[in-house]
């Protein structure tokens, strides 16, 4: 954990808390986004956190960046922050220069490289309509490479996820690109795990916010003459939310610690798998606690539950990691406990 962390995070949280009101989040539904908040993040160097200095970085470690991403999740900030910063990390991993404008990424299969030109269609690319660059995996007969593609003259069909976040179709037809050398399998897995860590950060933020909203509501709302938190069944709901929130935050913090210790793959995999239950429980229980009011557009709860419902099916998802772990277990001898405790057998990979 870098020393600047507390300071950066404090500044960022203040900016978000002050500016990202319910109405600001809603602008996505009107086909707009929060350019001013993006500018502020950019001017404060937050978009460059965790980039190496040679790539124009502003210092800070990856866990600082992940904590910033968590905050954008906590406030549902309608800016392409996770996308741009991850795209730059992806460029860096591939030994390409970072970009200074809005970027998005895709790790999907679907782009083919032929004669240094790229063709193919990508579904559900986050923020593509607003992004200047797309950083994507492309496949050639050599293997997987990273391509930096200018989105200037590319066909983009707008669409959105359940939370009204831009998820666009990008159609490439012999597009030119800057290309990296071929990635190793290890590099690909690294990229997939860091992408997952970004999602974990976003989800952790949203879960925290849902928990806050729910506790607050349970104190304000009265039924049968008393605040609802006095009823045992509401207490059960509050406790379930507290449990999932505590587990999510601990999982996120351990992911950050594991990344710093450079032994992160299984920590990320298990955190991501665990978030499936967390999301179902948190979304279901928080809506039940809020009852009717929580189903209205006017109240903010859905801005977070809809994001959780969207994010869980995007990118490198739970199924990918279950599959990865199942393969790992099948191909490694030994009992379970040494593996869980990361002793005797190493789980680095």
């Amino acid at each position: 954990m870098s020393e600047m962390k507390d300071m950066i995070l404090e500044v960022a949280e203040r900016m978000l808390a002050d500016r990202v009101t319910k109405d600001v989040v809603d602008v996505l539904e009107k086909g707009d986004w929060a350019k001013d908040i993006w500018t502020l993040f950019k001017e404060n160097g937050m978009v460059d956190v965790a980039l190496s200095e040679e790539h124009g970085g502003a210092g800070g470690d990856l866990d600082d960046l992940l904590n910033l991403v968590r905050l954008t999740g906590k406030y549902a900030a309608p800016i392409p922050f996770a996308e741009t910063t991850f795209a730059n990390l992806l460029l860096e991993t591939a030994n390409l220069a970072a970009v200074d404008k809005i970027a998005t990424y895709s790790l999907q299969e679907g782009l083919i490289l032929q004669d240094d030109r790229i063709s193919g269609t990508l579904q559900n690319v986050p923020w593509a309509r607003y992004a200047n660059y797309l950083v994507a995996f492309v496949k050639s007969n050599l293997g997987v490479q990273v391509a930096l593609i200018d989105l200037g003259d590319v066909t983009i069909k707008p669409s959105c996820n359940l939370a009204s976040e831009p998820r666009d179709t990008v159609i490439l037809n012999n597009a030119s690109a800057t290309l990296s050398s071929v990635l190793s399998e290890e590099q690909i897995l690294h990229v997939q795990s860091i992408e997952t860590a970004f999602k974990i950060a976003l989800m952790t933020g949203a879960i925290e916010k849902i928990n806050d909203l729910s506790v607050q509501y349970s104190k304000e709302r009265e039924q049968f003459g008393r605040p609802i938190h006095r009823f045992q069944l509401v207490q059960l709901q509050i406790a379930q939310l507290a449990g999932e929130t505590a587990i999510a935050i601990a999982a996120f913090n351990n992911v950050c610690a594991a990344i710093l210790a450079n032994n992160y793959l299984h920590e990320i995999a298990y955190a991501r798998i665990r978030f499936e239950d967390a999301i179902t429980t948190v979304a279901t229980v928080s809506h039940q606690l809020h009852a009717a009011i929580g189903t209205t557009h006017e109240y903010a709860l859905h801005q977070y539950t809809r994001r959780l419902w969207s994010w869980r099916d995007e990118g490198t998802n739970c199924d990918f990691w279950s599959e990865h772990i199942a393969d790992y277990l099948l191909n490694h001898d030994g009992k379970l406990w040494p593996y869980i405790t990361k002793t005797a057998e190493t789980v680095k990979s």
């Binding site: 539904e29 189903t295 557009h297």
Partner: protein, 384 residues
């Protein structure tokens, strides 16, 4: 208290089911409507309701002299199942058919029956249900909307909330306070009035659903005059009448089948993918549906035989467990078939997923939360 009749459908009933099914399938193919999940709440389509009325499928169990068709509760059950299973837009006439008709048949005046029931049965007259108020939530007895007696009628002031489809309805059966609140007997002094939603002093304001859709409303009453002949049943008896009304809405197939179109697509996808392991896991959902349907049909049959007093506990159980089942379908479906849920997706499965996920928070809240229902069940069981 858990012994319910079993039902084997007769040949006539099977034939009726196929008649309804074929009719609906035909209209899907014609493009009359697009199937979707949770269509009984979110699919209000007056043209479709008129079509259904023409078929004789509204007010099915009511006396013929009021425009009804004197069919059995089981026939109506079958009809409702078919609407929900295909995802037909029945929301416009839903509450009038399910609740207002039976209420008026039981408590209404002869004039009310003659005036309203035939119009409802034609699919041309829709009712909203005015129970909840801001801050009342599950505590329905805390109603504050008040009606004051004047010459020839009542003057109503106050506000209702969460009123489904009030903006397409003509009338609202409204629970109002006709005597001052009595802390010792909260249920006294309540009455039911039929309020013309186009009357002077009525304002309807939309409450957008979390998807941005408009199903719910706030309805404000500002010195609205309601003539005496629009009082339902007895002044002061509104609580009891309202409870009787609620019994009709607890155990129907709409507490089990709101996300059935998704379950259907799930099974079709798994079959297309020849995914036997997935099908094996999906049999758990099918077994839950099977079990709930047995229970729900048993309750319907018990109501048919007029044995309404044993119905309360199993009816509440159908709603409490059935709505959780509806809610669980998208959560399990996404584990069995890879999906990117999207409201405008090309693949039906992804579209139904999106509809189901976004609507599911309401299932276990509307018409009495699961918590309230479980409490009622427990009290009922312990009292035996």
């Amino acid at each position: 208290m858990f012994q319910l009749p079993t039902v084997q459908f007769t040949e006539e009933q099977e034939a009726f089911r196929l008649e309804v099914r074929n009719f609906l399938q035909e209209h899907v193919e014609k493009g009359t409507f697009t199937p979707k999940c949770d269509s009984w709440l979110s699919g209000a389509d007056p043209a479709f309701s008129k079509l259904i009325g023409e078929q004789g499928w509204i007010g099915m169990t009511w006396p013929k002299k009021y425009g009804g068709h004197e069919r059995s509760t089981i026939d109506r059950y079958i009809l409702t199942e078919e609407f929900l299973a295909i995802g037909a837009p029945v929301a416009a006439h839903w509450f009038a058919d399910r609740q207002t008709g039976p209420l008026l048949l039981r408590y209404g005046t002869e004039e009310q029956k003659q005036f309203f029931l035939p119009k409802i049965a034609k699919g041309e007259c829709y009712f909203a249900i005015g129970l909840s108020e801001p801050n009342s939530g599950s505590d329905l007895a805390s109603v504050k909307t008040r009606a004051e007696k004047v010459e020839g009628g009542w003057i109503v002031n106050g506000q209702k909330i969460w009123t489904s489809n009030a903006h397409v309805c003509h009338y609202m059966v409204t629970l109002v306070r006709t005597s001052p609140f009595d802390g010792k007997n909260k249920h006294a002094g309540l009455s039911q009035l039929i309020i013309d939603l186009h009357a002077k002093g009525v304002t309807i304001a939309p409450i957008k659903f979390l998807t941005g859709e408009h199903h719910f409303n706030e309805v404000f009453f500002d010195d609205v005059f309601v003539p005496d002949d629009m009082v339902v049943g007895e002044i002061g008896n509104g609580w009891e009448q309202g409870l009787a009304e609620l019994a009709f809405e607890r155990s129907g197939p709409e507490r089990i089948l709101s996300t059935f179109p998704l379950l259907d697509e799930l099974i079709q996808e798994l079959k297309r993918q020849r995914n036997k392991e997935g099908l094996k896991q999906a049999t758990k959902l099918l077994s839950q549906l099977w079990g709930l349907r047995n229970l729900s049909i048993g309750v319907a049959q018990l109501l048919e035989s007029g044995n309404a007093k044993d119905v309360a506990i199993p009816a509440s159980l159908v709603k409490a467990i059935g709505t959780k089942f509806e809610q669980s379908i998208p959560e399990i479906a996404r584990l069995l078939v890879t999906t990117y849920p999207k409201l405008d997706a090309e693949r039906k499965f992804d579209r139904y997923m999106a509809q189901s996920i976004l609507h599911s928070p309401g299932f276990t809240i509307r018409g009495g939360t699961t918590e309230i229902l479980f409490g009622m069940v427990a009290k009922g069981v312990v009292a035996r």
